[in-house]
C-alpha cells in the first residue's frame, strides 16, 4: 500500500512535468497566473450555474442541474481517460525505468490507475465541485448535501476512469493490430471523436420523449432529472445520494457507489496486472519495411524543412489528432446543430435575414465580424504554438543546422498558416456564395485574414520558443499540459479585440483594409527582424 502511494506520487509529479530550474519569483508569478486563470473559469462556471439553477427553479426542476453535471462528469472522465490511460499505461517513457524495478505489476497498475483518477479530479472541480457548491448555497442545502457531494466527488470518476483503462488493456492484450503504438493512438482518438459527434447527432435527432410524457415529468418535482439519471447506474446512485435526504435511500446509494467503485478498482487492478507486463513490453513503434528502393530527390532548404515538419507532425498520432484534426473537426461540431431538418425546412424564413445581412455587410463592421469569426477558428490551431515543444529534447538540432533561426521560425509557422484553410478560404467563399458578397470585399477579408493568420502563427512559434516544453514523458503532455497553448489563446483573443476596436473607428472598408494590411505587414517584418537580431537570447532555452 505504502509503495503504491509513493509510486502514485512520483508518477503524478512526473505526469505534471513541472518545469524545474525556474526562479522562485517566476514560479510564484506562474502560480498566481494559473490561480487567476482557474479563478476566472470558476467565476464563469459559477455565474452560469446560478443562471441555470434560477431558470430551473421556476419549473421545480433544479434536479436537472445536478443530473446534467453528474452525466457531464462521467462522460468527460470516460472519454478523457481512454486517451490518457493508453499513454500512461503503455506509451509512457517511465515504463523502461519502472519495469526493471522489483515492484509487482499490481502495484504499478494501481499507481497508474490512481494517476488517471487524480487527473479526473482536476476536471471534476469544474464539472462537479464548483457547480454543486453553488447549488448548495443557492438552494440553502444542509451539511449532509456537502458531505454527500464530497463522497460523490471522490468516488464518481473511479468507475469511468477504470473502465476506460480496461478498454485500453483489452485492446492491447487481445488485438494484434494494437501492438503498434501509432495505430492504436489513431484508432482510439478517432473513435472518441466519432462517439462525441454521434452522441451530438443522436441527442439532436432522437428525442424519444413525447410532448405529453415531457409535460408529465415536468409536473413531478425533479421528474426530468430522475429520467435523465436512469440511463447510467452510478449517476442514478449519485443523484439519489444527493437528493433523497428524507429517507435512508441516500445513505444506501452512497454506500453502493463507494462499494462498487472500490470493488471495480481492485478487480480491474488484479485483472490488468495479470497481462500488463507482457502487453507493455510488446509495444512497438513504426513499421519494419524491407524495401531497398530509395526515393532520393533534391529540394530547396525551405521545402525540405517544411516537409520535415509536416512528416513529423502527421506521423505522430497524438500531435496530429490534437493539433491538426480539431481544425477540421471542431467547425463541423459547431455547425452540426444548425444542420437538422427543421432548420433546413425553415430556410425560406431566413431569406429576409440573409438579404438584410447582404445589404449591410460590406462595411468595416461586416469585415470586422467576418475576420473575428476567422480569428475564433484560428483558436483551434495549435500547430505553431507547439512546434518547438513537439521536438522535445532534440529541439536543439535547430541550433546547429546552418539555417538562420528566424527562417526556421518562419518554416515552422507555415504548416499552421496553411492548415487554417477553413477560416482562410472556405469561410469567405461560403459568405460569397450565401450572401452574394462583392468579390473585392471578399478579397479584402481574405487579405486581412491571411495577414492575421501569418502574424498569429509566427507569434505562436515565438511563444513556444520563449518557453518550450522540451522534457516530457509522453507526447500527450505536450498538447494537454502545455501552458503555451493558453497563452496563445489569450494572445489570439487580444489580437481579435484590438482588431475589432480598430475597425469601429473606420467608415470606409477599403481605407481600413489598406491601413490594416500596412500595419500587419510592418509588424510581421519587424517581428521577424527582431528575432533575427536577438536570436541568441530568444532561443536560449533551447539547448
Amino acid at each position: 500500500m505504502k509503495e503504491t502511494l509513493i509510486l502514485t506520487k512520483i508518477l503524478f509529479k512526473n505526469s505534471l512535468n513541472i518545469n524545474k530550474g525556474k526562479s522562485k519569483v517566476k514560479a510564484i508569478a506562474m502560480n498566481i497566473l494559473i490561480f487567476l486563470a482557474i479563478a476566472y473559469v470558476a467565476c464563469v462556471m459559477g455565474f452560469l450555474s446560478v443562471e441555470i439553477i434560477e431558470s430551473l427553479k421556476t419549473i421545480n426542476q433544479t434536479g436537472i442541474f445536478l443530473s446534467l453535471c453528474l452525466i457531464l462528469t462521467v462522460s468527460v472522465s470516460l472519454i478523457r481517460s481512454v486517451i490518457s490511460s493508453l499513454h500512461l499505461l503503455y506509451f509512457s517513457k517511465d515504463l523502461e525505468y519502472l519495469l526493471p524495478l522489483p515492484i509487482s505489476a499490481m502495484k504499478i497498475v494501481l499507481a497508474k490507475f490512481n494517476v488517471i483518477i487524480i487527473s479526473s479530479y482536476a476536471l471534476e472541480v469544474f464539472t462537479l465541485a464548483i457547480p454543486f457548491i453553488i447549488y448548495g448555497i443557492y438552494m440553502m442545502q444542509e451539511v449532509t448535501f456537502y458531505i454527500m457531494t464530497a463522497i460523490v466527488f471522490l468516488f464518481l470518476p473511479i468507475i469511468p476512469a477504470i473502465l476506460s483503462a480496461l478498454i485500453s488493456v483489452v485492446l492491447m492484450r487481445f488485438t494484434n493490430m494494437f501492438k503498434n503504438k501509432d495505430i492504436v493512438q489513431y484508432v482510439t482518438v478517432i473513435m472518441s471523436f466519432v462517439i462525441v459527434i454521434a452522441m451530438q447527432f443522436f441527442i439532436m435527432n432522437n428525442s424519444e420523449m413525447t410532448e405529453f410524457m415531457f409535460a408529465n415529468k415536468l409536473l413531478e418535482v425533479d421528474g426530468i432529472a430522475k429520467e435523465i439519471s436512469n440511463y447510467v447506474i452510478i449517476v442514478k446512485q449519485a443523484f439519489i445520494s444527493l437528493t433523497e435526504f428524507e429517507s435512508i435511500e441516500y445513505v444506501k446509494n452512497a454506500i453502493f457507489l463507494i462499494g462498487e467503485s472500490i470493488t471495480i478498482y481492485l478487480l480491474a487492478g488484479v485483472l490488468t496486472a495479470k497481462t500488463y507486463i507482457n502487453s507493455a513490453t510488446n509495444v512497438t513503434s513504426g513499421k519494419r519495411v524491407r524495401n531497398v528502393k530509395l526515393d532520393i530527390s533534391t529540394r530547396s532548404v525551405a521545402k525540405a524543412y517544411i516537409d520535415k515538419e509536416r512528416k513529423m507532425l502527421f506521423r505522430t498520432p497524438v500531435f496530429f489528432l490534437n493539433t491538426v484534426l480539431p481544425i477540421f473537426i471542431l467547425p463541423v461540431i459547431i455547425i452540426l446543430p444548425f444542420t437538422n431538418i427543421e432548420a433546413v425546412d425553415s430556410f425560406e424564413d431566413l431569406v429576409p435575414l440573409i438579404t438584410a445581412i447582404s445589404a449591410n455587410m460590406e462595411n468595416p463592421m461586416g469585415l470586422a465580424i467576418i475576420v473575428c469569426i476567422q480569428i475564433f477558428l484560428y483558436l483551434f490551431n495549435y500547430i505553431s504554438v507547439t512546434s518547438i515543444s513537439r521536438d522535445g529534447e532534440s529541439a536543439f538540432v535547430m541550433k546547429y543546422l546552418p539555417i538562420e533561426l528566424n527562417k526556421q521560425c518562419r518554416y515552422k509557422a507555415i504548416l499552421g498558416i496553411v492548415l487554417n484553410i477553413i477560416p482562410l478560404l472556405i469561410l469567405p467563399l461560403c459568405i460569397k456564395i450565401i450572401f452574394c458578397a462583392n468579390t473585392i470585399f471578399i478579397l479584402e477579408v481574405m487579405l486581412i485574414g491571411f495577414l492575421l493568420n501569418v502574424f498569429i502563427n509566427y507569434f505562436g512559434v515565438l511563444i513556444d520558443v520563449l518557453n518550450p516544453k522540451l522534457h516530457w514523458t509522453t507526447e500527450y503532455s505536450v498538447v494537454k499540459q502545455n501552458m503555451n497553448m493558453l497563452w496563445d489563446m489569450l494572445f489570439v483573443l487580444i489580437v481579435g479585440f484590438i482588431f475589432f476596436m480598430i475597425c469601429t473607428y473606420f467608415e470606409n472598408v477599403h481605407v481600413l483594409t489598406l491601413l490594416l494590411s500596412g500595419i500587419l505587414v510592418i509588424t510581421i517584418v519587424f517581428l521577424d527582424n527582431f528575432v533575427k537580431q536577438n536570436n541568441i537570447n530568444i532561443f536560449k532555452k533551447i539547448s
Binding site: S285, K287, T298, K308, F396, Y400, P402, E404, K540
Partner: protein
Amino acid sequence: MIEIQNVSKSYVKDKKTIDNLNMQIKDGEIFGFLGPNGAGKTTTIKMITGILKIDEGDILIDGKSIKTDAVEAKMSFGFVPDSPDMFLKLKGIEYLNFIADIYKVPIQERKDKIEALSKEFGIYENLNEQIQSYSHGMRQKILIIGVLLHDPKNWILDEPLTGLDPKSAYDLKEMMKSHSKKGNTVFFSTHVLEVAEKLCDRIGIVNQGKLIFVGTYEEMKDKFKENNSLEEMFLEMTEK
C-alpha cells in the same frame, strides 16, 4: 581548424562551468576531448556547435565566428550529438535527404554516398523504415552517415562510439583517420581512454571546467616522467 579563444560559460551566477578555455584543433589532426562526468565536455561541444550561448570569448571554425557568422561557421562542420534520438518519425532515407538538402549536396553525389555509406554501416536495408524503429546503434549510424554525407571539413562528435557494434566502431575510426589524413579536423569526446590513446594525435583533458592538459600522449608521458598508461595518468590528473 577549430579555435577556442578564452571561452567561459556559467549556468549559475558566480560558478563557471567552463573557465577561460583556450584550445586550437589544427587541420589534419584527430583531437580527443577527455574528462570525467560533469567536467564540461558536452558544454564545450554545445558552444562550439552554437547550441549554447558563449558568455565570454569566441570560437572560430575555419576562421568563422560561431557568434557573429553562425550560418557560415555551421556550414563547415558536421556534428553527431551524444543522444541519437532525433527525427524519430522520419524514415532513414528521409533524414538523409533532409540533411543533404540543408547542406546542398548534389543529387548524384548524395545517391552514391547514401548507398555506399549505408551499406558500409549495414543499414542499407533499413533506410525505408522510420528511425524510431532503429536500435540505439542504428540511430547513431544514421546520424554519422548524415555528417559524412555533406563531407564537412570539421567533424565534431560527442561520444560517437557509444552503442556502435565492433565493426561499425572500427569503420568509424578508420573514417576518422582517413578524414584527418586529407587535412581535415576531427574533434571528438570520449570516455574510452584506449580509443583516445590509439586514435588521437592530441588529447585535451578538462576537469571542473578547466583545461588541465593538452598535447600528445608522448608529451603526457614526459610530463609525468613515468611509463604509466593513459588511464592511470588521467585518473591522477582528474582526482587531484
